[in-house]
Every structure is written in structure tokens, then in C-alpha cells.
Symmetry: C6
Subunit: 77 residues, 6 copies
């Protein structure tokens, strides 16, 4: 039984950022489970500046959480 989110701990800030991107996308999938509809919506936001900025805002919020979880990777620099 695998989990899509076994931990918030990552080796590096970069991996933490990638996890933040993933967390932002999961909520969309859980709200709209139909992959065909999501595919149809993709150009609607991926080619719209304001949508992309809004995605970036969600990522920033998750990255704050993940950064705190990892003690800001203070020993990783």
C-alpha cells in the first residue's frame, strides 16, 4: 500500500519545492477527478497569465509549510 504523500521531509529545498507543486495539483484532482475535464481545462490556465500567478500563489503557500517541516534545510546549504 503506497501513499502519494508519505512524508513532508525532503533532502533539499529544490525537492521541497517540487513537492509543493505536487501538493497544489492534488487538490485540483480531488475536486475534479475526471482526467478528461482536467486535460481540457489545462490550456485555459497554462496560457493565462493570471491563472499561472494564482498557481504560483498556491505553490508558495505549500512551500511555506514544507519549508517549516524541514527546518528550512538550514544544515543543507
Amino acid at each position: 500500500m503506497t501513499s502519494w504523500l508519505p512524508t513532508l521531509i525532503t533532502a533539499t529545498p529544490e525537492e521541497g519545492y517540487d513537492l509543493a507543486v505536487k501538493l497544489a495539483r492534488i487538490a485540483v484532482k480531488k475536486t475534479q477527478p475526471d482526467a478528461d475535464i482536467r486535460d481540457r481545462l489545462r490550456p485555459e490556465y497554462a496560457e493565462d497569465a493570471d491563472s499561472l500567478i494564482a498557481v504560483s500563489q498556491v505553490v508558495a503557500t505549500h512551500f511555506a509549510t514544507i519549508s517549516a517541516a524541514n527546518g528550512y534545510w538550514r544544515d543543507a546549504s
Copy 2:
């Protein structure tokens, strides 16, 4: 007497994320208690990219709270 939110503590990050999704939805129910109206609104946001991103933002905010509550599941990895 059951509660819909007995605790913020979850066994894993994944369960914490699911709880965040639930918390995001409860506020909608409390603001619009009529299930028929909510059902009518569902396609309005579930098929709109910007609405889905906004939902993801709410989930991200709740996930931050739940993650802090659980000490970021640092021992769960």
C-alpha cells in the same frame, strides 16, 4: 454525539491532506446550507480552471494548519 471535526491529529500527511480538503468544503456548506443549490453550483467551479486553483489555495491554507498541528509528521516518514 459525534463531531465532524473531533481532532486535527492524523496518522499520516496524506490523511492530513484529506482533512484539509474536508475543512475547505465545510465553510461552503455553512455559508450555503442548501444542498440543491450547492449541487447546481458544482459544475460552475469543477469545470473552471480558476475556481479549481482557488479551491487548491484554500486547501493549502488548511493543510498548513493541520501540518503544524501534527508537528509535520516528522516521525512518520
Copy 3:
């Protein structure tokens, strides 16, 4: 002399969530004190998906504050 907000401390997470909903509404009342106008605006947001999501975002922000105030009810589960 009663206060509408005597404390942020609640017995349970569920009561904390209800307080978050209340805090979200108070700002609206303070910005638009006229109850007739607020009543007129109600269908405008209670039947609009994006408005409901925005309300949920405000609730999420207040719930974060109230959860921290209550030490995340870690002993309440």
C-alpha cells in the same frame, strides 16, 4: 458589558471552526453596517461558486489563528 469575542479559546476544533466562520462575517458587518444592504447581497455570494470559495479562504485564515491559539487542541482528541 458583553463582548462578541471574549476569547479565542474553544473546547473543541469544531467550536474553533465555528468561531472562524463568525470572525469572517464580522469584518463584512464592520465594513457594511447596513443590514438591509447585506441581506440584499447575500444571494449574490451564497449562490456564486467563486464567492463561496473566497469565503472559505477567509475562514481558513481565521481557523489557522484559532487553531494556534488553542495549541491545536492536541489534548482534545
Copy 4:
């Protein structure tokens, strides 16, 4: 020489909330210093549901800050 913001410390949560409302308004005044223009804009947001929700979001963010500053008034209940 008086200050409009001598401290973030308030006696009660309710006073803290009022301070949050004040902090939300000050940024508007600093960005649009012309009181006549602000007065003209007032009905534009005070009679618009989405604007009122957005104001409530700003208040929520400031209330989080003020609540933390006051140790969540844990001894005030």
C-alpha cells in the same frame, strides 16, 4: 507627536480585531491618499459582495498577526 499605531498589544481579542480592521484600511489610504476619491470608491466595494469578502480576507491576515503579538490573549478568557 502621536502615532496611529503605537503598539500591536490590545487588552482583549475584540480590540485586537478592531485594530486589524484599522490596519486593513490604512494601506488603502497610503495607496490612495485622496479622501475624495476614496469616498467615491466606497459604494463600489461596500455594496459588492466579493469586495466585502476580500476586505474580510485582509482583516483575517492582520488579525493573525495581532493575535500572535498578544499571545492569543490566553489569559484574557
Copy 5:
């Protein structure tokens, strides 16, 4: 060699708030470096209620950071 942001520490909450306003504006300058375009855009947001509220939201986020940096000026009251 001067810095536009040598420190987040300010003597008073009021100065902290002014710094938050400054931080909100810098991101705009970095994204749109052309001062002529920024000047042209100014009435677009300074006379629009929703834009002013959005500016206030950015200021609130920065003010939270600056307040934490200053230990909420607990000894300054």
C-alpha cells in the same frame, strides 16, 4: 554601497507598517521595471476599489513578516 532593504528591524510598529508598504511596491518594480508604464498603470489601481484591497492584502502579508521579525515590538508600547 547602499541597500534598499538593510534590515527588517524597525523602531516602532508604524515604521514597520511603512516598510511593509515599501516591500509590496518593490515586487511591482522588479516585475515591471519601466517607470513610464508603472505611472500609466497607477490610476488603474489607485482608483479601483478591488485593486486597493488587493494592495492592502499584500501589505498585510509583509506586515506579518516584519512584525514577527521585530518580536511584535512587545517592549515598544
Copy 6:
């Protein structure tokens, strides 16, 4: 093997702010990897006041994270 984000630690608040701007942009690139499309979108947000304010909001969220990671540069003033 170089990383685009080896650490959240910066020497000064100003460098921290620049890193926040960078973090805000990376999410856009990860969501829209096509540089040609991003270039086409640029005037859409760089000449729109509300888009610029939204960018500033994302930067503010990342700056909060980076400031906390750096202990608010309390010894750097």
C-alpha cells in the same frame, strides 16, 4: 550537478527578497514550461495593474518563508 535552489539562506534581506521573486517565477515555469508561450504572456501581466499586485502577493508569501528561514536576519542590521 547544480541546483537552482541550493539553500534558503541569504546574506542579507535584500538577497532574500530577490530569492522570493525567483521562487515566485519558478512555479510559473513549471506549470507552463514553454518559454515562447511565457514570453507571449509577459505583456499580459507586466502591463496590468492587478496582475502585478498578484505577483507581489506571491513574492510576499515566499519572502515570509525566506525571512523565517534566515531568522529575520536579526544580526545583519
